[in-house]
């Protein structure tokens, strides 16, 4: 099994990344702050005013290290990739399937079913583990998700799948706020909003989803798939549709749980959030660093993969699922096994 490698986050404004031999050098005000071998890295994320030498970009491309640029507040801006690699036949199989509405719908249904089931698991765990104030809403939501899951048993086209998915997401997010047990006043949540996020919880969710999207895109590239050609999400220039597809089933387990524990364990405090004139909420640098640290740590947690039946770290999940998806597209697996969290 592949080894989980580390991701370097550069948040110091004005930092400069350069290549020296086989290593990445982070310079701040011409002074070397950190120097580390590229083979320990899987990705580099640059936030805000961070520049990067063309030679380092080349090295990252060559070694398959994802290099992404984000705005200071964590909005994704650009990603640099090396030569187009991987298996042409595999990519073609992916394109063919994405053109084929019926089979796309079958694959998308697998993903959505897993997503909804994982959302339900997340809610049930919340009810069981913590002393949640309002059990009723959560139970109603969990029941609603069960009903939707049953409805998904019969085949349907992509449009109605998207409808069911939206319905489930609304139900899930309407109950999600009830999983917040401490600091509930400062972190009240009444549904998902973004661009920009309107409250603290949405700011956290958006940020963690962006990080997850970076990881999933990298994993897909890594196994030779095109992250832009999706099955559930429609193709749109610049959108990593397949990464978004694959994220669906991973979100509850990797991202949502992380956000909840950050709030419930008081690892983030309301003072770390800034409301801008537009009503959008962003986090200050300290909070963002804390979230990044927690995200990295979460990725190292061990998890038994239900399909592979092997102990892996959570951070490898995007890679494992990409691999399984590739196997399905190649025809080595009769069906794509999405991640079911139990």
């Amino acid at each position: 099994m592949k080894k989980l490698l580390n991701t370097l986050f550069v948040m110091t404004q004005g930092a400069y990344l350069a290549k020296k031999g086989e290593t990445v050098v982070v310079k701040v005000e011409r002074e070397e702050r950190l120097r580390l071998p590229i083979h320990n890295l899987e990705g580099i994320c640059c936030f805000g005013n961070v520049s990067c030498s063309p030679f380092l970009m080349g090295l990252c491309g060559e070694r398959g290290v994802g290099l992404s640029f984000f705005s200071e507040s964590g909005r994704f801006m650009a990603r640099s990739i090396g030569a187009i690699s991987g298996n042409v036949l595999l990519r073609k199989a992916q394109y063919r399937l994405s053109e084929d509405g019926d089979n796309s719908a079958k694959l998308a249904r697998n993903m959505i079913v897993a997503k909804i089931a994982n959302c339900r698991t997340s809610i049930r765990r919340g009810v069981r583990d913590a002393h949640v104030l309002d059990n009723r809403t959560l139970e109603t939501c969990s029941d609603r998700l069960t009903v939707i899951l049953a409805e998904l048993k019969k085949t349907m086209d992509l449009a109605s799948l998207r409808g069911k998915e939206g319905e489930a997401a609304r139900a899930y997010f309407s109950a999600f706020g009830n999983l917040i047990t401490s600091q509930a006043e400062d972190f009240s949540f009444h549904g998902r909003n973004r661009r920009p996020p309107q409250d603290n919880v949405n700011a956290l969710l958006s940020f963690v989803y962006t990080l997850l999207c970076h990881d999933v895109s990298n994993a897909l590239e890594g196994v030779g798939l095109d992250p832009q050609v999706g099955f559930l999400h429609r193709d749109r220039p610049g959108r990593a549709s397949l990464a978004l597809d694959l994220m669906e089933e991973l979100r509850p387990l990797i991202a949502d749980r992380l956000v909840l524990s950050l709030i419930n364990r008081r690892q983030v405090s309301p003072s770390g959030f800034i409301v801008r004139e537009s009503g959008g909420v962003i986090m200050d640098e300290q909070t963002r660093k804390k979230v990044l640290g927690a995200y990295q740590k979460r990725k190292q947690d061990e998890f038994r993969h239900p399909f592979l039946d092997e102990k892996i770290s959570l951070g490898l999940l995007p890679y494992c699922q990409s691999l399984l998806l590739a196997r399905f597209l190649r025809g080595d697996l009769p069906e794509y096994p999405p991640l079911r969290w139990r």
């Binding site: 080894k3 580390n6 948040m11 031999g21 086989e22 290593t23 950190l34 071998p37 990295q296 190292q300």
Partner: protein, 95 residues
């Protein structure tokens, strides 16, 4: 995790050259924790590459290399006192 330490005889110009090359190679694979001490987090392939490179570089009449294999639980076996504690290549890397 492997700890690589070396002692290269620098009396001659050729010796100084070897020292530079050994240091450069080690820097490509790990972190310099002290002047001639490197901590390298490598997988088996990378380790073979690094070791072969080092063995080729040195002059075994005059120089020496020493490797300490710390394994996957290396964190329990390392203690640092004093300045420049270095970074943890498996921990969170935020600059």
């Amino acid at each position: 995790m492997v700890l690589v330490t070396y002692d290269v005889n620098t009396v001659s110009v050729a010796g100084q050259r070897r020292l530079r090359h050994v240091a450069k190679l080690c820097e490509n694979y790990g972190q310099r924790v002290q002047n001639s001490v490197f901590e390298c987090l490598v997988d088996p392939t990378q380790w073979v590459q690094l070791k072969n490179g080092l063995v080729k570089l040195i002059d075994d009449e005059k120089d020496s290399l020493r490797f300490y294999f710390l394994g996957a639980n290396w964190r329990r076996r390392v203690e640092h006192i004093g300045t420049r504690p270095g970074y943890d290549p498996e921990g969170s890397l935020i600059v």
